[in-house]
Amino acid sequence: MRVSNVSLSYGGEPVLEGASLKVGSGQFVSLVGPSGSGKSSLLRVAMGLQKPFAGSVDLELPKSDIGILFQDDALLPWRTARQNVSLGLRFRGMAKQQALQKADEWLAKLGLEGFEDRYPRHLSGGQRKRVALAQVLALEPKLLLMDEPFASLDAIVRTKVIQDVVQLVEREKIAVLLVTHDLEEAISLSDVVYLLSQGPRARISNEYKISIPRPRDLVRARLHPSYAPLLEKLWNDLSDEVQGNGNGHVAKGPIYMAAE
């Protein structure tokens, strides 16, 4: 997928100006940047949920091969886990029985065996997130677009879910574009990290290639010799952005740090 020179404004307020990035097949790409810089907006443009004011998005693959996961998992509260997961399959015309069976398989893959008949209300936050993931992965996407999908989870659950996602993504060779606040997460998961500059008129101000070998292990990735220097550089660059002396445009008004 390729996003070229995208500019976007909300009611005359410029947000993005000339932002470009690309995600190669099977590549894991993260997008980080100051809070409010337009990461979610950029992703929404990439998803086709928002029309850019200029620039273009070239998906280079059919829309049906793209899976999307937002921060607030919106499962249908009136459908069971199994029914929720089967939704996308049903939309693609799969027979009901087959779709439900496939849903069960994916729920099992994500460690939710025995929870198939629960309603979302009766699942924990982490379990709901897994159901949402199963819902997307059941469609066997080639590209996964995620906007801070794990932000609402506590640290331990989060690490576990992420570990499972990484394994699945590596095994099924799914390309990923992940928006995250967490620099450590970005580095330990990604092949490429893009830094979005402080808005307004945000654009990609830096690109970091990460060559920690795969398959990755979240904990071991952090012990790789290249990890610490990368983190430091990314951290400094982000701080510079936030303080308004980065590669991007100078920020006006109050400034907030995006990193946790």
Binding site: I68, D72, A74, W78, L87, F91, R121
Partner: protein, 253 residues
């Protein structure tokens, strides 16, 4: 003594209190403290209630009220749902429907009863019409709100999973609407019976409302209170049924 104060025995305590009040009432009546013309003794009310069933003359009246209330309820709920959906989705029609509903909502709708009797006669039609108007307005605003405030995230989710308009309706809108209608079903049932009884009260030859107005014209307070109790029981039974339906359909809550 402490155990009797446990929340578990709330019903027991309520019933006991009711029993004491009734016993006291009865006793006060026997002592002549209460004028039986205004405040008949519970036993007199009980006898009036029994007589209604003994000679079987209550049934056609109950049937008349039920038909009117349930007819109005059914039609009112249907109309409320359809108009609510249409008004929420089609801007042009909402300009027409919403003001009418706002006006109908603002006035005490039972004042339409005499008008309906002129329009539809003293038969079933005017009762159903009154029930219908009472119910439809309530349901309309609920459905309208449910559609307007539908969770955008759910809509986006269905769209990104590849669902079309029909899927959106079936997976998101209809369940939201069902939930809001079920939540307000009891209010609607109350309104349906209000409409039927008030309609009968204003002009009818049958029905519980008609019996009440008959009891009034003959100064028969015992009969009147008996009828009020009867309506109360009927509505409570229907509430219980509505609760069952709500429980079954809203398991996901």
């Amino acid at each position: 003594m402490r155990t009797l104060l446990h929340p578990r025995y709330a019903l027991l305590r309520q019933l006991a209190t009711l029993g004491i009040v009734i016993a006291f009432w009865e006793y006060a009546g026997t002592l002549g403290w209460l004028n039986p013309l205004y405040m008949p003794r519970p036993s007199a009310i009980g006898i009036a209630l029994r007589d209604l069933f003994l000679d079987g003359r209550i049934w056609p009246h109950m049937q008349a009220t039920f038909t009117a209330a349930l007819g109005g309820l059914l039609l009112g709920v249907l109309a409320g749902i359809v108009l609510g959906i249409v008004a929420a989705l089609v801007c042009l029609l909402s300009e027409l429907i919403e003001p009418i509903m706002l006006v109908l909502n603002a006035i005490p709708r039972v004042i339409l009863a005499p008008l309906f009797i002129i329009w539809f006669g003293i038969g079933l039609g005017s009762k159903i019409a009154l029930s219908f108007v009472l119910v439809a307005v309530v349901i309309f605003f609920n459905v309208f709100g449910a559609v307007k405030n539908v969770d955008r995230r759910l809509v986006e989710r269905i769209v990104t999973l590849g669902g079309g308009r029909w899927s959106l309706l079936r997976q998101v809108y209809l369940p939201s609407i069902t939930a809001s209608v079920l939540q307000n079903l009891k209010v609607a049932i109350g309104f349906a019976f209000t409409g039927a009884v008030v309609g009968e009260f204003v002009g009818a030859s049958r029905g519980l409302g008609y019996l009440i107005s008959f009891a009034q014209s003959t100064y028969n307070a015992a009969l009147m209170i008996a009828l009020v109790l009867l309506i109360l029981v009927v509505v409570l039974v229907i509430f219980a049924l509505a609760n069952q339906a709500e429980k079954r359909l809203m398991q996901w809550r």
